[in-house]
Symmetry: C2
Subunit: 549 residues, 2 copies
């Protein structure tokens, strides 16, 4: 009889426990969970604050009782594993009543998760400074709001921070969002975040970028956040969402290998440096599926799949995790942002060459009512076109396109493949040329050399000599807003007015989203203007980089 001991009973641990039981009806499976709850809906917690999810027991995906009855798992909640004795293959635990004991294992699976960062700032221990990880945390935050909190400060504009801001606003709490970086949602490239940060501000939230909390001070019945800029934000409630660190204390004390950011190192079978000990979920350092480098990405989907793979390995079945791709999504204030694969920032850090394709299509046929625009950036290898990443922002249908590209990336597809994918089309759902096809057309055109392109960054930099900037939109569109210094010559007149363009000078064409600019580039390249390039994604992309103040 195999003895499987699991530390941590939420996403990874619960997945590992139930799969291990399905694989081995005879195994003794003991699941230790330090807290009172197993398998709760972490990702739903912000929505419970907002009252969107109610009642509270909706957050209990499973329960200890169910894991016992249905899966014959020996669940020990409020029971903390305090040490691992690798030589004897036992863990030491302490129960809520203080009783201690030992449990022997053949395979140990560590899935303790990751803890919200609480940096050692003055006042950090004030009861009004909260984090969001457990049901107890959410009860505290929700309790404060229910008790009449009127002003909140959320520190950290990551996924959880933004979801909290939306739910606080939904409850009528006046909220300020403070973020150290110069953008919200740091995993995304900055310009992609423009529509969402605009929406957050339009909802009445003050968003302070490039700003950080330095101290927390009592302020009457509340608490004030002192910022690095010297500003002081009085509040009833402060929530930190500035990141997490892997819960690696047990692993470190047992001498298991960890990465520079603290993640427990595992191989593809989820084995730690001790082959009798596996690990999964937010506590591990795994492999980045794109760059091949180390990845420490706390996401629910990967945690669940890693838990399954750990169970396979525990039951001596071959299984391999393919690395984390970083597919992620957030919805707030009527906008959706999603990404998969590497960002530009990550590719620059990794030294991976890349090219970009921008499209700004409607989410379904524009002739059908309700079409909403989205902006989609595709990153791919300039040699061969391998897909490296994608990011999108918009409304409905953003999740679909990023999911489609996520699979294409996992399959090792190229931009040329995206030209050919055959997706659902009826006017309520998509377009005959889907946004994914469109991104493929643009990227493949670049790769084939049909379509020289410059990026917004290139025209923003003073070049010598500056290119002739040609707006091929209509005079009406030009009048509504254009790139400074550009000359308007509508596409439909272009062939007849070529003599108005400068010979021997580089020309950058642009339109609203890149399509007419592409045609203009093709016309000019074939009409004696060999130094012509199109502005990728057109004025819409330029606006993402240069939002209205």
């Amino acid at each position: 009889m195999k003895r499987i001991v699991i530390v941590g009973g939420v996403a990874g641990g619960a997945s590992a426990a139930t799969r291990a039981r399905r694989l081995d009806e005879r195994a003794r499976i003991v699941l230790f969970e330090r807290g009172p709850d197993v398998s709760f809906a972490n990702c739903g917690l912000p929505y419970y604050v907002g009252g969107v999810i109610a009642p509270r027991d909706k957050l209990l995906v499973s329960t200890a009782a169910k894991l016992r009855a249905r899966f014959a798992i020996d669940v020990r909640t409020r029971c903390e594993v305090t040490a691992i004795d690798r030589a004897r293959k036992v863990v030491r635990f302490r129960a809520a009543d203080g009783a201690e004991g030992e449990e022997a294992y053949d395979v140990l699976i560590l899935s303790p998760g990751a803890a919200p960062l609480r940096p050692p700032l003055p006042g950090i221990d004030h009861a009004g400074v909260m984090v969001l990880r457990s049901l107890q945390d959410v009860d505290r935050i929700r309790g404060a709001v229910d008790a009449g909190a009127r002003r909140a400060v959320v520190v950290g504009a990551g996924f959880i921070g933004l979801e909290l801001v939306e739910n606080l606003v939904h409850r009528g709490v006046s909220t300020t969002l403070v973020e150290l970086q110069d953008q919200i949602l740091p995993p995304f490239d900055r310009e992609v975040t423009t529509p969402l940060v605009t929406a957050v501000r339009e909802a009445g939230v003050e968003v302070l970028l490039g700003e950080s909390a330095e101290a927390f001070e009592p302020d009457g019945a509340g608490i004030a956040v002192r910022l690095a800029s010297g500003r002081r934000l009085p509040a009833d409630l402060v929530i930190l969402g500035i990141g997490v660190r892997p819960e690696n204390a047990l692993a470190v004390a047992a001498g298991l290998e960890t990465g520079p950011r603290g993640g427990i190192r595992v191989d593809a079978a989820m084995r730690t440096s001790d082959p009798a000990i596996l690990a999964c979920g937010d506590c591990v350092e795994t492999r980045d599926a794109i760059t091949g480098g180390p990845a420490q990405v706390p996401l629910a989907g990967p945690a669940n799949r890693q838990g399954r793979i750990a169970a396979d390995t525990a039951c001596a079945r071959p299984a391999a995790y393919r690395g984390t791709q970083g597919t992620a999504i957030v919805g707030a204030f009527g906008r959706t942002m999603a990404m998969t694969g590497a960002s530009e920032k990550a590719l620059l850090r990794a030294g991976t060459p890349f090219a970009r394709a921008w499209v700004h299509p409607a989410h379904h046929a524009s002739y059908y009512p309700g079409a909403e625009p989205m902006s989609l950036k595709l990153l791919f290898s300039p040699q061969g076109g391998r897909l490296l990443g994608a990011q999108a922002v918009g409304g409905p249908g953003v999740d679909k396109r990023i999911d489609v590209i996520a699979v294409a990336i996992q399959a090792g597809m190229t931009a040329f493949d995206l030209e050919q994918v055959e997706l659902c089309y009826a006017p309520q759902y998509g377009s005959a040329k889907d946004p994914v096809n469109m991104a493929g057309f643009v990227a493949a055109g670049l790769l084939r050399g049909d379509h020289p392109q410059v990026d917004v960054g290139a025209i923003a930099t003073p070049a010598t000599p500056a290119p002739f900037l040609l707006d091929v939109r209509t005079p009406q569109e030009h009048a509504l807003g254009s790139i400074p210094g550009s000359v308007n010559l509508p596409i439909d007149d272009l062939r007849d007015r070529l003599d108005e363009l400068p010979r021997g000078r580089s020309i950058v064409t642009y339109c609203q989203v890149g399509m007419r600019g592409y045609l203009a580039t093709r016309i000019l390249l074939q009409s004696g203007f060999p130094q012509t390039a199109n502005l990728g994604g057109g004025y819409a992309t330029w606006r993402l980089h240069h939002p209205a103040p």
Copy 2:
């Protein structure tokens, strides 16, 4: 200067014309269109009948004037090409005013589309018997409705037929749907259509399956449809949506090769049997991407991509169409149905072995409000797990899952790959274990032999001896409806009540959607009941096969 002549100016022809211009600014491009309009939104026509799309000019995706001004294309509307002289490389045409002429080509691209079938039944030429292909057709139908038509008969329950039914109901027209086959939407497998046919009937539409029109007879100011059963349906308006036939007359007269169903045969570069003549769109017979056999599938997405490829070939660029996968979607009466790849019917016809995995998940995290169920059937190779097809029915999120699987099929992925795909997850958008992952888990479990499964068909057939049918749901669920002859023993009690089960007899477990049944199968297989199998997709799948009358 290359001379490119194109016959037909809608999806394929317009795509070919504009891409050819982008590729070759110097080419002479002549586009003949028999009708008055180019590039209109075929797929939007039913919604114009319903008034969902308004005004009418929304249906004009492009216009002859725009193709002339922007793309320098010589567009000749109301101008019919009457013959091809392959030896001299000229086409003969006749304009609306009767004037005839010739136009020489280096490359000819045929994209005349497909015409609605009008079988030679008595009365078929009655003005009240309409079809829907062009703007003129939709004007006639819409005109009849605007003029007060109260009763309509739609013959043919394909995509267009169903969309018409929905839009007629939306306009308050009492509608009867007549379909020759024993199901709506014949490209789908029958059981997948159950929820939609139920919804259509619940909307007050009489749906007559296995029924056909035999004649059309004047009936007062209206028209009556006489059915094969002898029934007579009086109506103000009859619309035929029973399929299309390729417009191949020009090609046949010119001696080009066509397939048994009339499609113009093309290779991957869209070349017909005459390499100077290309063809694309609804008129061609191409390759089925799954079975490799011939495919004649009139869909807008493939038509558009084929048009691009024809332009590439016309401009001497290498390009290859990968075959048609049959990705299709229809939304009506609050339901969405979508499919990609081969159906069971198609696989049976092709003699391709397949296995099935059924899942019935919520479209996003069930703890987040608004989760709607979907049913998803995955078809895959029993050897190696190559994905062959998928069909889904439900509400939101059906399109996303079929698109994801469409790409996976194109990439040549297997069921094992679907276990690992990393998709977007936040509670409004999906689940940590997405429906696509779930389908992968089920299919991969079958392939690994973990999870013997029987299909509904197997238990419906009298077997000798009949299996012991074990419902492992709760007594409450069992009481609400169960498979006749099944015994209820809830999963959570199973381990303690094994002695109630028959030894040495085959046992089929089932639950609501297949998950508890899977666990029950695992328990029994490992507890001395080696002849146990799970009913794939559980009671939910059984209900699709056995809808309430």
